[in-house]
Structure formats: C-alpha cells, structure tokens
Assembly symmetry: C2
C-alpha cells in the first residue's frame, strides 16, 4: 500500500497489541507515521516500568522501522527517516497508585497519555461502568494539574460522565477522549453524551472514534452523516 | 500499674507508633491484653509486606512481652502467658491496589482489619474528606465480600457518609468504625452521624471512640453524658 500523502501525519490514535515484527511491518507499509500504543491497564508501578523496558527492547530489535517519540519533533524525524513513531500511553492510573511524583517519572520515560480511570473507580475519578460516578476526586484534581504542568495528555476514555465534565473543567490544557464514539450515534456506557462533546470542543479537546464492536451500531442502520 | 482485671480483655482499639521497647513495656505494665496496631496507610503492596516482616523482627526482639495474634485464641494465649497480643490492621486499601487476591495473602499474613479509605477516594470507596463521596464502588463491593469470606474486619474510619451506609448494608458480617466519635458530640469530617451509628448497631457493628484532638470538643463544654 502506498503512502497516503507526504503532507499529512497519519497517526493511529490507540492500539493495544501483542506486538511482533509482522504488525510493525504492516503499520510501516500502511504508511502510518505514529501510533499511540497502550502500555498498561491494571499493572502496578513496577510492572509499568518493566513494560517500558520491554518497549526499549522492541525499539532495538525493530530500529529500522519504529522509533520512540517523546515530542512532535520525534514524530517528524520518524517520518523523515521512514519509521513509525511510537507514543506511550496508559489506559489507567494504576501505575501511579497514590504517588503524584510518579507522574513526572513516567513522563520522563516518555509516557504522554494517561487515562484517569478504566471503567472502574480509581483514587482519581469515576469510571463509566460505576453506577455512581464520583467525578474528579481531590487527588484527581492534583494529578490533572501535574499532568498539565508536564504536558501529559489527560485521556477520558472509559471515564464516567461527571468525571468527563469535571476533568474538562479542571484541566487548563485540552483533554482527549482517545477512543469512544458519540452516544447520538450508538448509545453505550463507553460512548459520549453530546453535552460532553460540546464542552470538550469548546476547550479544544478531541475525540478519536472507536472501531470496537460494542461501541458501534450495525453499520447497515446508519450513513456517513451519522459520524459527522 | 496493676492489671485491671483477670476477667476482662483490655484491648487498645488502634495505635500507630514508632514502636520501641519502652512503648511495649508501657502497654505490658498497663495490663493491655491486645493492641490493634496500624501497619500502613499509603504504602503499596511490597512496602506493606515489608512492614509485616518488620513486625516479625519486633516479635522476635520483644518475645517476652508481645506476641502476634491472628485469632481470639491467640489473644487468650497471650493473656495467659502475660504478653500483649498484637493484631495487624491497615488504615487504607492501598496495599491491595486493584488485586482482590492480595486480600487473602494479607489475611494469611495476619491482617485482620482494613479500612476501605483513608480520607481520600480509593478504587473501593469514598473518603470523608472528598466533597463527593462515591459510596462503595463495584470493586469495593467485591472486596467487602472477600473480606467477609475470610474474616477480615471492614473498618469504616476515615470513610465518607455514603460509603459508611453502603458498606454496613453490603457487609454480611458486622463492621467496625475503629476510631471516630459521634457527630452529636463534636461535629467533624471524621466523626459519625447518628443515622450511621443506628444502622451500625442494628448489624452488630461497633465504634471505638477517638482521643485525637480534632475529633474532640473542649471537654469543659461537655459531661460524661455526651459520650453515652
């Protein structure tokens, strides 16, 4: 497959895979310039640092086609050198446990996205599967401020509604919902209400659409207008 | 000081100290039969197991006057042998992080009390300092069931009001509020509303009164009747 364009950056907004040479080659041949790769969900601090080490072994083994990106410059360099840039992300806040200083340590190691929650409640906020969403907690507010300071993106995928509204309000930088669909397209606990989308957009946030089957309706039932 | 009575068990409901020989001797000479000792607050899994190892060094060093208690029988044995029994407790759920199987591992190591929260929100529940108390979360419900199964006491000190109400409801065994006072005596975020106390008592739970200054009013303002 030929490269889509020399003028745009083609970024895969989220992937979690059991990575191997073939998958990296597929991404490379498809012309992807970058992938936001999920490192961990429920792993604790130590396991999360181990996963970063695992990725450094992958970078060494597949250095001809992938490279670690910590900055926009790194992504542009990867494109110039015909490599796929890998951006680290966490789909949960389990790695930082109760320790706010760990955010900077993970940031230094290259982590650029962190979700406040993964379906369930965390010390930071409420998940989308909780019958009662706490919203952003005291510690969650401090964590968002620290992520803002460092430049780590607050990802609200898998968060509850009140948590989304609170986090958009609290964050002084745009936040992301990296993988979910609008509820007006298909209603699901993981999808997002219109009032959240409106607030998100007003603060220059973004949503990445999801192809996970439970976030989609039968495509026969809808047209492209449903996505717009 | 002489022993208070041969017929009763005198148990200190909660202590957190930088333990040393003198403190153990004080407890022993005062005739205490047991102490519920707080091992950790914010420590993670590994640090909590390390604290258990630290206690085993204390048991070895001071074996003439203290002993580890995992059962009522152990407390009675300690009394018979003129030793102070030590009961392990956690003032937070940080040690188990997101791993329900850790509860049994800590139980086997002798932990008999665990608080769901310590002022702030946890994956299990809401703390008494949170402006919005989530109540018991999905994971919190599963944790209480597991604690009930094992025989580890759910301690609601430092929990939010909704969390107290939910936990008393969810637990099929009596729960404890090991250290707090009634709000009718002195209003404080850490003290307990009457409706909670009523529900607690109906399910055979208990509250241990607290001597921490912020949980007390000026004693000149009240009489012993305030405590009854």
């Amino acid at each position: 497959m030929s490269k889509i364009s020399e003028d745009i950056l083609l970024i895969d907004g989220l992937e979690y895979c059991n990575w191997n040479r073939e998958l990296f080659e597929n991404a490379h041949q498809a012309g992807l310039n970058a992938i936001h790769a999920t490192l961990v969900y429920w792993e604790n601090t130590e396991e999360s640092f181990e996963k970063i080490n695992y990725w450094h072994r992958l970078f060494k083994e597949h250095h001809d086609i992938i490279a670690h990106a910590k900055t926009t410059e790194d992504i542009l360099d990867a494109k110039k050198n015909d490599k796929v840039a890998i951006i680290f992300g966490f789909q949960n806040s389990a790695p930082i446990a109760n320790d706010i200083f760990l955010i900077e340590k993970f940031f230094e190691a290259g982590v650029r996205f962190m979700q406040l929650t993964y379906n369930n409640q965390t010390p930071l906020a409420g998940g989308c599967f909780e019958p009662k969403d706490s919203g952003v907690s005291r510690f969650g507010k401090a964590v968002i401020e620290e992520m803002n300071r460092l430049g780590m993106i607050v990802d609200l995928s898998h968060a509850g509604k009140q948590t989304c509204l609170d986090a958009i309000e609290v964050s002084n930088k745009p936040v992301a919902i990296s993988h979910a669909n609008p509820n007006f397209f298909h209603k699901s606990k993981r999808n997002i209400d219109t009032d959240i989308l409106q607030k998100l957009v007003k603060k220059n946030g973004f949503i990445g659409l999801s192809l996970y089957p439970y976030h989609l309706k039968n495509l026969g039932d809808c047209t492209i207008e449903d996505f717009l």
